[in-house]
Amino acid sequence: MVPLWMYLVVAAALFCLGVFTVLARRNAVAILMGVELMLNAVNINLVAFWRFVTPATMMGQAFVVFVFVVAAAEAAVGLALIIAIYRRRQSVVADDANLLKW
C-alpha cells in the first residue's frame, strides 16, 4: 500500500506548481487554473489524511466535496470577472488590471 508521505509529497508538488502558476503566469485565466491546482493539492491532503488518520468518519470526504463546490463557484465568479475586465480593457493580463492601487 502506498504510504501517506507519498501522497503528501505529490500534494506538495502539486501545490507548488499551483503557486508558481499563480505567481508567474500573466494570463488571468492561467492564474485561475493555478488556484485550482492549489485547491486540488489541498484536496489530496484532505483525502489522504482521512484515509490514514480517521477512516471511521466521513469528515475528510465531506470537506473535499465542499472545496469542489467552492472551487467551482470561485472559478465561475473569477472567469466572469475576467470576461468583464476583458470586455472593458481588451486584455486578460493580470498586471493590466491595476486600477485599485495607491
Binding site: V22, L23, A94, D95, A97, N98, L99, L100, K101, W102
Partner: protein, 741 residues
C-alpha cells in the same frame, strides 16, 4: 385735591408758565413769531398776575389776613436721604413777596419790550425761548424754600445768561463774553456749592425756615470751629463766606465783576434781564435770604462782626466805589450802566454786611426797577441810533463811509428832541440811579443804606466797617450822580455830534411803515410803566420821622420795614431819624448832578472834543484816566494771571507733557510692549506649536506616501507577499514548536 387758589400752593404755579412757554417755543413754535411772542407774553403776564395775587394776599389787601411773621409754604418729599427725607417746596415770606413784586414786573416789561426790540432779528424765536427759561428759573429761585432749589434756579440762569450774552455768536466778542460770564460765575458757584454741601452736612436740611428759626442750631454752628482754618473761623462763618463768594460771582462784585461789563455784548433786553430782574439780583437776594446764617454769632447793631459780614461790608463798599470810578470814564452807553449796576450791587452788599437788612432789600427792589428801565431806555437809544446811522448812509450815499459806534455816547447828543419818550424814561431812571432827592425811588433806598451806616458808624468803633462803608458809599453815590448826569447830557443834551444822531429816531415820512419807526410802541409802553415805578416805588420805604413826607407815606411806621422784617425771627431794629446822613445824601446826589450839569450839560461836548473829565484828570496824571477807561487793567491782569496760565497749562503742561508725553508715552510703551510680546508668541507659535502640529501630520503624510506604494495594484505581488508572510509566520511557529520540544 390741591386747592390752587390757596396761597400756600399758588407759589408752585408762579414759575411754571414761563418754563412751559420756553419748552413750547423751543419745541413747537420756533417757526412762528406770532405764536412765540403770544406764548411768552401770556406766560410772563400770567406769572405776574399770580405773583400779584400772592403779594396782595401777603399784604392783607385781598383774600385774607396779612402775612406777618408767618409764611405761605408747602412742601413735597423729593428724595429719601437715608433715614430722613429731602423736601422741596415753596415759601412766600415777606422778602419773597416783595421780590414777587419787582421780578415779574420787570420780566413782563422786558418781555413786552423784547417784542419790539428783537422784531427784526433772524433768531428772535430762540431768543424768546431762552428769555422764558431765564424768567422761569428766576421765579423758581425766588419762590424756593430751600437752598438747593434756589441753587437749581441759580444755575439754570447761569446757563441762560451764557446763551443770551453770546446770542449774537457771529461776533467773536459776544461769544467770548458768554464764555467769560459762564466761567467767572462758575468759579463762584462751585465755592457756593461747597458751602451748601457743608451746610447740609451740618444742618441735615437746607430749608430756610428750619435753619433760620432754629436758634440753638445757629448758635452751635457759630461756635463750632470750621473744618478748615478752624482756629480763625466758625463753621457758620465758613459756610457764610462760601455763600458770599457765590454772590460775589453772581452779583458781579470785585474781584469777580469782570464778566458783567462784557455781558453787554448780548441784546439789550438781556442786559436788562441780567441786571435788573434776574441773575445779579439773585445773588443779592440769596445773601439777604441767608442773612440769619451769615450773621450767626454776630450782631452788627452792637458792633460785633463775623467773617461773612466783614467780607460783605468791605467787598461791597470797595466794589461800589471802584465800579463808580470806572463808570466815570466809560463811553459805551451800556457799559456805563453795567458799571453802575456793579456799583449799586456793592451798595446792597455793603448794606447787608453792616446789618442793614431791610435797606439792602429795599435797594434791591428799587434798583431792579430803575435799572431795567435804564437798560431798556438805552436799548431804545441804540435802536434810534442804528436807525439814524442807516438813514444817514441811505441819504448821503456812502458819504459817511466810516461807520460809527452806535453805542458810543460821544457819537450821540441832542437826542432829547428826537426821541422824547425815551428821554423822559431815561431821565426818570437816571435820576433814580443818581438818587435825586425826594422824588425818585433810588434816593429813598440809598438814603436808608447811608442812614443805617451812619447810625452804626457813630455808635460803633472808630473806623469800623460801618464807617468804612459810609465813607466809600457816600463817595460812590457822588460819582454815581456825576456819571449818570454825564451820560444823560452826552446822550440827550446839546446838539447831535454825528449824522446818525442827527437822524436818530427819524420816521421816514415818505414810507410810514411800522418798520421805519425806530422805537415801536412795544418798546415805549414798558418804559413808561417802569418810569412811573422808578419814581413812586421809593415811597413805600420813607422813614416815619422824615419831615412832612414821613407823615404822608408812613403814618404807621416805615411800611416796607415793617413788612420785610417779618421775614426774620427777630425784628430788625429801626434806625432813629437823623438829619446828618440825609443831608449828606442830599449833598452827594445833588453835588454829583450839579457837577455833571456844569461839566457836560451847560457846555455840551462838541464833536471830536476831548472829555473834560479826561482833560482835568490828565493834569494830575495822564495815566489815571486811561487806567479808569481800561478798568484798572483787571481784564488784562486776569488774562495774564489766569487765562494765559490756564491756556499754557492746558497747552504745554497738559497737552504736551502730560497728554502727549506721559499718557501717550505710557500708552505707546504698552502698545509697543504688547507688540513685542505678541511677536515673540507668534514666533513661538510658528516654530514650536506649528512645528509640532504640522510636523505630526506631515510625518504621517510622508510615511503614508512611502507606505502606500505597497499597494501596487499587482494582484500577484499581493499574493507573493501573502505567501512570504505565511512562510515567515509558519517558520516562526515551527521554530517555536520545536523549541518547546
Amino acid at each position: 385735591m390741591i386747592d390752587w387758589t390757596n396761597a400756600n400752593f399758588l407759589p408752585w404755579l408762579i414759575p411754571v408758565p414761563p418754563l412751559i412757554a420756553s419748552a413750547l417755543i423751543f419745541l413747537l413754535f420756533n417757526r412762528s413769531w406770532f405764536l412765540t411772542t403770544l406764548t411768552a407774553l401770556a406766560a410772563t403776564i400770567l406769572s405776574w398776575g399770580m405773583s400779584l395775587a400772592v403779594l396782595l394776599r401777603a399784604l392783607g389787601l385781598a383774600f385774607g389776613d396779612p402775612l406777618g411773621g408767618s409764611a405761605f409754604s408747602s412742601q413735597i418729599a423729593w428724595m429719601d436721604t437715608g433715614t430722613t427725607q429731602f423736601n422741596i417746596g415753596v415759601l412766600v415770606d415777606p422778602l419773597t413777596a416783595v421780590m414777587l413784586f419787582m421780578v415779574p414786573l420787570a420780566i413782563s416789561m422786558i418781555m413786552i419790550y423784547s417784542v419790539g426790540y428783537m422784531a427784526n432779528d433772524p433768531r428772535r424765536e430762540r431768543f424768546f425761548g431762552y428769555m422764558a427759561l431765564f424768567a422761569g428759573a428766576m421765579l423758581t429761585l425766588v419762590v424756593a424754600d430751600n437752598l438747593l432749589l434756589l441753587f437749581i434756579g441759580w444755575e439754570v440762569m447761569g446757563f441762560c445768561s451764557y446763551s443770551l450774552i453770546g446770542f449774537w455768536f457771529e461776533k467773536e466778542s459776544a461769544h467770548k463774553a458768554g464764555v467769560k460770564a459762564f466761567m467767572t460765575t462758575r468759579v463762584a458757584d462751585v465755592i457756593m456749592l461747597i458751602g451748601i454741601v457743608y451746610l447740609f452736612a451740618q444742618a441735615g436740611t437746607l430749608n430756610f425756615r428750619d435753619i433760620f428759626f432754629n436758634h440753638e442750631f445757629l448758635a452751635e454752628l457759630a461756635s463750632t470751629p470750621a473744618l478748615i482754618f478752624g482756629g480763625a473761623i466758625s463753621a457758620a462763618g465758613l459756610i457764610g463766606v462760601f455763600l458770599v463768594i457765590g454772590t460775589v460771582g453772581k452779583s458781579a462784585q470785585f474781584p469777580l465783576h469782570v464778566w458783567l461789563p462784557d455781558a453787554m455784548e448780548g441784546p439789550t433786553p438781556v442786559s436788562a434781564m441780567i441786571h435788573a430782574a434776574a441773575m445779579v439780583s439773585a445773588g443779592i437776594y440769596m445773601i439777604i435770604r441767608m442773612y440769619p446764617l451769615l450773621a450767626a454769632g454776630a450782631d452788627p447793631h452792637h458792633g460785633i462782626y463775623n467773617a461773612p459780614l466783614m467780607l460783605m461790608a468791605y467787598v461791597g463798599a470797595f466794589t461800589a466805589l471802584f465800579a463808580a470810578i470806572i463808570a466815570v470814564a466809560q463811553n459805551d452807553i451800556k457799559r456805563i450802566l453795567a458799571y453802575s449796576t456793579i456799583s449799586q450791587l456793592g451798595f446792597m452788599m455793603a448794606a447787608l454786611g453792616i446789618g442793614a437788612y431791610v435797606a439792602a432789600a429795599f435797594h434791591l427792589i428799587t434798583h431792579g426797577i430803575f435799572k431795567a428801565l435804564l437798560f431798556m431806555s438805552s436799548g431804545a437809544v441804540i435802536h434810534a441810533m442804528e436807525h439814524g446811522e442807516h438813514h444817514a448812509h441811505a441819504e448821503h450815499h456812502g458819504e459817511h463811509a466810516a461807520p460809527i459806534d452806535v453805542q458810543d455816547i460821544r457819537s450821540m447828543g441832542g437826542l432829547r428832541q428826537r426821541i422824547p419818550v425815551t428821554w423822559w424814561a431815561f431821565l426818570a431812571g437816571g435820576m433814580a440811579l443818581a438818587g435825586f432827592p425826594l422824588i425818585t425811588a433810588g434816593f429813598w433806598s440809598k438814603d436808608e443804606i447811608l442812614a443805617e451806616a451812619w447810625h452804626l458808624g457813630v455808635g460803633g468803633e472808630w473806623f469800623g466797617p460801618a464807617v468804612f462803608v459810609f465813607i466809600l458809599l457816600a463817595v460812590a453815590a457822588f460819582l454815581t450822580a456825576f456819571y449818570t448826569t454825564r451820560q444823560l447830557a452826552m446822550v440827550f443834551g446839546g446838539q447831535p455830534r454825528t449824522a446818525a444822531a442827527e437822524h436818530a429816531g427819524f420816521v421816514d415820512p415818505e414810507h410810514p411803515t411800522p418798520a421805519a419807526q425806530a422805537i415801536s410802541g412795544f418798546m415805549q409802553g414798558p418804559l413808561l410803566v417802569l418810569a412811573v415805578f422808578a419814581v413812586i416805588a421809593g415811597f413805600v420805604g420813607v422813614h416815619p420821622d422824615f419831615p412832612l413826607l414821613g407823615a404822608i407815606f408812613s403814618p404807621y411806621g416805615n411800611p416796607f420795614h415793617n413788612f420785610v422784617t417779618g421775614t426774620l425771627a427777630e425784628e430788625m431794629p429801626k434806625v432813629a431819624f437823623n438829619w446828618l446822613p440825609v443831608l449828606i445824601s442830599f449833598l452827594v446826589a445833588l453835588g454829583g448832578i450839579w457837577a455833571g450839569w456844569m461839566v457836560y450839560w451847560r457846555r455840551p461836548l462838541a464833536a471830536g472834543q476831548e472829555d473834560p473829565t479826561k482833560v482835568a484828570l490828565d493834569r494830575v496824571s495822564p495815566a489815571l484816566y486811561t487806567a479808569m477807561q481800561r478798568k484798572f487793567y483787571l481784564d488784562e491782569l486776569y488774562n495774564a494771571a489766569f487765562v494765559r496760565p490756564a491756556q499754557w497749562i492746558s497747552d504745554v503742561l497738559v497737552a504736551q507733557i502730560v497728554d502727549r508725553g506721559i499718557i501717550d508715552g505710557v500708552l505707546h510703551f504698552i502698545a509697543r510692549a504688547a507688540t513685542v510680546i505678541g511677536e515673540t508668541f507668534k514666533r513661538f507659535n510658528r516654530v514650536v506649536i506649528d512645528g509640532v502640529g504640522d510636523g505630526i501630520p506631515s510625518g504621517i503624510a510622508r510615511f503614508g506616501g512611502w507606505f502606500r506604494q505597497l499597494q501596487s495594484g499587482q494582484v500577484q505581488q499581493y499574493l507573493l507577499m501573502a505567501l512570504l508572510s505565511a512562510l515567515v509566520i509558519g517558520m516562526v511557529v515551527f521554530v517555536r514548536l520545536i523549541g518547546r520540544g
